[in-house]
């Protein structure tokens, strides 16, 4: 069941998230339409990861509704599976399977989840490895690759599942500075292709050039939401101004 193109691809309505007594998300409301690129920023511990992890159910929200392309996230395994098939995720720490070659990292979920035959899975894997410009690494193990290469593999691995939405949780934060741009280039390429993306990042250059909207979170709330030029040049809230002055200071 797919909603019409006019409906938002992602809807979060009044979402709360508690860890025990601690409220990590407070009344989050967010709509993302097909092809939109959202950048999320905010201080450490403000709930950025928790918010995007609720979208593919790595965290279970405590209250409110989350609807992804017409599928509401409930306790039903079927709904969760349906959503996870549409949502790809890239982590700060890459999380490549260390005991599988690069190609196998890209093939395993295709084979197990999509039931793609091995030969075809390998073709798809090679297609996306070419897209992230490291097809020659296909038969190596993750540890033999640089951080930037590993993160590009992680992006390719998510793309192999042909997701509608890509979530990025600080994809360049664990990288040496000289490797950041090779990963951002892949993400820009993806954005230009029309992928719907939510990117948690403090790379403000990327936000300015790629984002349709920038969201600023603090203490579990969405404090400010604006187009990049407004967000950077005329932030409304004091907390946003303070954050931007700290980020841009170094």
């Amino acid at each position: 069941m797919s909603a019409s193109d006019a409906d938002p691809l992602i809807q979060m309505q009044n979402v709360d998230k508690f860890f025990g007594d601690f409220q990590a998300l407070k009344n989050i409301n967010l709509e993302v339409h097909r092809g939109e690129r959202i950048v999320v920023c905010g201080p450490s511990g403000s709930g950025k990861s928790t918010m995007i992890r609720c979208i593919n159910r790595l965290e279970e929200h405590s209250a409110g509704r989350i609807i992804i392309d017409g599928n509401e996230l409930t306790d039903k395994v079927k709904d969760i599976d349906a959503v996870r098939r549409e949502v790809g995720m890239v982590f700060q720490s890459f999380n490549l399977f260390p005991h599988m070659t690069i190609a196998k990292n890209l093939m395993i979920a295709q084979q197990l989840v999509r039931k793609t035959p091995k030969g075809q899975a390998r073709e798809i894997a090679m297609h996306y490895l070419e897209r992230v410009k490291i097809p020659e690494q296909a038969d190596k193990y993750p540890i033999q690759l640089s951080g930037g290469q590993q993160q590009r593999v992680a992006i390719a691995r998510a793309l192999c599942m042909q997701p509608e939405i890509m979530l990025f949780d600080e994809p360049t934060s664990a990288l040496d500075p000289e490797m950041i741009s090779e990963v951002l280039d892949v993400m820009i390429d993806l954005a230009n292709d029309g992928m719907t993306m939510i990117v948690v990042t403090h790379e403000m250059g990327f936000a300015r050039s790629v984002a349709d909207r920038v969201i600023f979170m603090d203490a579990g709330e969405i404090v400010e939401e604006a187009k990049p030029e407004e967000f950077f040049d005329n932030p409304v809230h004091e907390r946003t101004k303070l954050f931007l002055s700290q980020i841009l200071a170094h």
Binding site: N56, R84, M89, F91, V113, I143, A158, M161
Partner: protein, 231 residues
Amino acid sequence: MSFDLYLIVESVPLMLSGIGITLKLLVISAFLGLLLAILLLLMRISGKWYLDWPAQVYIYVFRGTPILVQIFIVYYGFPQFEFIRDSIFWPILREPAGCAIVALSLNTGAYVSEILRGGVLGVGKGLLEAGSALGMSARQKFIYITTPIAVRLALPAYSNDVISLLKSTALASTITIADMTGIARTIVAETYAPYEIFISMAIIYMAFTWVLQKSFGLIEGYLGRYAKREA
């Protein structure tokens, strides 16, 4: 006291005739113990208290008592019970070797399950999240991510346990089994030459251990091939 080299030359082949029984005790107990360990592990990580608790109690009891006592309980204690004598296990428990294997398996199973659990807990949470994000089911994650990584992590401790099991098999000689140690004890009783005999026996066990260690080293090298930077 003189050291009788001739006696060593004469008795080593005799002791080696017990190697078959020692090997049998080791291989069968290691195998059954591993199966038991996997079962206990699954109970421990099931997340269900009514499976977890019995497994914990079992592990506590078998790690908290001497293996020799466990062997004695199985060998001297079990036959006292009518229902055991009537059970299908009686043909096994009637034989000393059967008792030794049962006791050794029950004991090593408790240790190995904890070793395996250590491996499972060592698998990075992030890898399992990556699996979930890719849509893999809990079962698929366990088979394709947790198991291979946990096995590699657990292998060094597991090889230690197998080596220690080898030496525990010597305790079988206390219940009339003619394994290498049993034969050595008989020879000592006949010749009154404990030094020669027990030292040669120690050397045989060390050689055996060396073979085990080398074999596990090869397996570790193979399973760890992906963890080294140079290919």
